[in-house]
């Protein structure tokens, strides 16, 4: 029985990898929601696109500070999950580069 469980878990892992790859492939195919190419494109796609359309993101023109305030507000008030520390910087850099105030 123990062996069967392990086999099942291995099977499940491959299925999940397959599903993730399929989702990534579809997202890539759909051009990451029209987000400009650059480091952080994928991370922004998933972090931002889970609740609302990326159309909202693409309208903005905010400084890095204001982007940070915005992300903090979304975490504290709007139920957004906190990005990992690594993704936090990546996402902020991406947003302030491509949708910044310069």
């Amino acid at each position: 029985m123990f062996k069967a469980n392990r086999l099942f878990l291995i099977f499940l892992t491959f299925v999940l990898i397959g599903i993730t790859q399929a989702i990534n492939a579809r997202a890539a195919e759909n051009n990451w929601g029209g987000l400009p190419k650059g480091a952080g494109q994928e991370e922004v796609f998933y972090q931002c696109g889970s609740c609302h359309s990326l159309m909202l993101v693409k309208q903005q023109g905010l400084s890095r500070d204001r982007w940070e305030d915005t992300l903090v507000w979304m975490i504290e008030e709007q139920g957004m999950s906190r990005p990992t520390d690594k993704n936090w910087a990546l996402i902020l850099d991406y947003l302030s580069t491509h949708f910044g105030s310069e």
Binding site: N30, N31, S53, M55, Q60, S63, T70, Q78, G79, M80
Partner: protein, 425 residues
């Protein structure tokens, strides 16, 4: 390239039409077998009849998606999730805004599977007798009135802020004045019996928070009790004589004209009469608040220095002709609407020479208080060339529209003059 969908169901249960539009030059893709293989890969299948594709056609499955909203015509979509769409000024020319042309503003996801018989409006809190009213109760127990009521989003005009403010980048069209049928909010509150401890209302609706968390409200704002008791606020159940559009708050909504649109809760199911300033979603922090004192563009302002927006300021919109029009005549009829929140508009002046000289337009009285007022005038151009027609409204206390934006961090209350371009040949 993005694939077009067949049709997406919005949360409101309406099919949104996904209309393909011309996108890219076919030559970009087609260069013999390699190009065809690329298209086939993108489309996701072989194309048996590829030889029949006319030269200028892009396969529909590769054309850009164009999001449109069922029952709305030619609105500019700012966001498709949540749905936010505004009306180009020249499509707001009607004295009464048709439903198909009324702007759409969502903070969350509209409810689906609405059971009209089961819909209830709860009135509770600082009242003698809490009420739970069905749609039939509202129609039968209270006087039903029809009013032309103007609504404007607090962030209308945000797009023109420099530096940019965060949020939906509305330009001119988050405004409308439809005819609403309903019962007076004051009559319903009086039926419940408002206690002397009442300070503010708190509004609740059936729209879902974007995160899907049912414990969070997408938006829940309110107004001071004095504003709530104004006889021109409606609990509305019809828009232009027909059921309210699903994106405009069906089956029941508040219409609290003259204040930011966010005070007019859509998909209304509860009014909580409170003994304190309401602290619901998007009442607090800096939501719908502006600094108490004038600030420089880009200035950082401490949270405690913000005050809640109440009456919207005086503003006007030129709705005819469309900006960029080319005319052959030296004379042109200019039309538009003006409004002033809780106040009325006393005059609208028009200039065609960048503000050097002004003429006073003919200005109608509103159909009823809190309807917008239509203005018109004929302007005369001295010679051919490029002109701008500007409109400047003055309210009944003498306050006028400004020449530039009073910047504030969240991009609210842009009531700068509207300017349109006219090319006279």
């Amino acid at each position: 390239m993005e694939k077009s969908g067949v049709g997406k169901k919005t949360a409101a249960g309406c099919e949104t039409k996904v209309k393909p539009s011309r996108g890219v030059d076919r030559r970009t893709f087609l260069g013999g077998a390699t190009g065809l293989a690329a298209i086939a890969a993108a489309v996701g299948d072989v194309i048996p009849f590829w030889r029949n594709l006319p030269e200028e056609f892009i396969p529909i499955a590769m054309a850009e998606d164009q999001f449109s909203i069922d029952g709305k015509r030619e609105l500019t979509v700012l966001n498709d999730r949540p749905v936010n769409a505004e009306t180009p000024p020249h499509l707001l020319d009607d004295d009464v805004t048709p439903t198909a042309r009324h702007f759409v503003r969502n903070n969350g996801i509209p409810p689906t599977d609405i059971d009209l018989a089961a819909w209830r409006l709860l009135i509770d809190g600082e009242v003698d007798k809490p009420l739970s009213l069905s749609l039939d109760d509202l129609r039968s127990k209270f006087e039903v009135v029809k009013l032309n009521l103007q609504l404007e989003c607090g962030g209308n005009g945000r797009a023109f802020f420099e530096p940019k403010a965060k949020g939906n980048q509305w330009t001119y069209g988050a405004v409308g004045c439809s005819q609403w049928t309903g019962v007076r909010l004051a009559d319903v509150l009086n039926a419940a019996g408002v206690k002397s401890t009442a300070v503010y209302t708190g509004h609740y609706g059936a729209d879902l928070h974007l995160s899907g968390d049912s414990k969070k409200e997408a938006i829940s704002r309110g107004v001071p009790i004095a504003k709530a008791m104004n006889p021109y606020n409606l609990i509305a159940f019809e828009q232009n004589g027909a059921p309210i559009h699903p994106e405009n708050g069906a089956p029941l909504r508040l219409v609290v004209p003259g204040w930011p649109g966010s005070c007019s809760q859509k998909w209304l199911n509860r009014i909580w009469v409170r003994d304190q300033v309401h602290d619901g979603a998007k009442m607090m922090g800096t939501s719908y608040r502006v600094p108490r004192y004038p600030v420089a563009p880009g200035e950082e302002v401490a949270k405690e220095d913000f005050a809640i927006i109440e009456s919207m300021p005086v503003k006007s919109l030129i709705t005819s002709p469309q900006t960029g029009v080319k005319v052959g005549d030296r004379k042109l009829l200019v039309r538009g609407h003006a409004w002033a929140g809780d106040r009325s508009v006393s005059r609208v002046d028009i200039t065609i020479d960048f503000g050097r000289t002004w003429v006073s337009a003919e200005l109608n009285t509103p159909a009823n208080p809190f309807a917008w007022q239509t203005f018109s005038t004929q302007v005369s151009f001295p010679e051919r060339g490029y002109y701008e027609v500007w409109a400047r409204a003055t309210d009944d206390t003498g306050v006028q529209q400004p020449f530039s934006i009073a910047w504030n961090p969240k991009g609210y209350l842009n009531n700068m003059m509207h300017r349109i371009a006219v090319y006279v040949s």
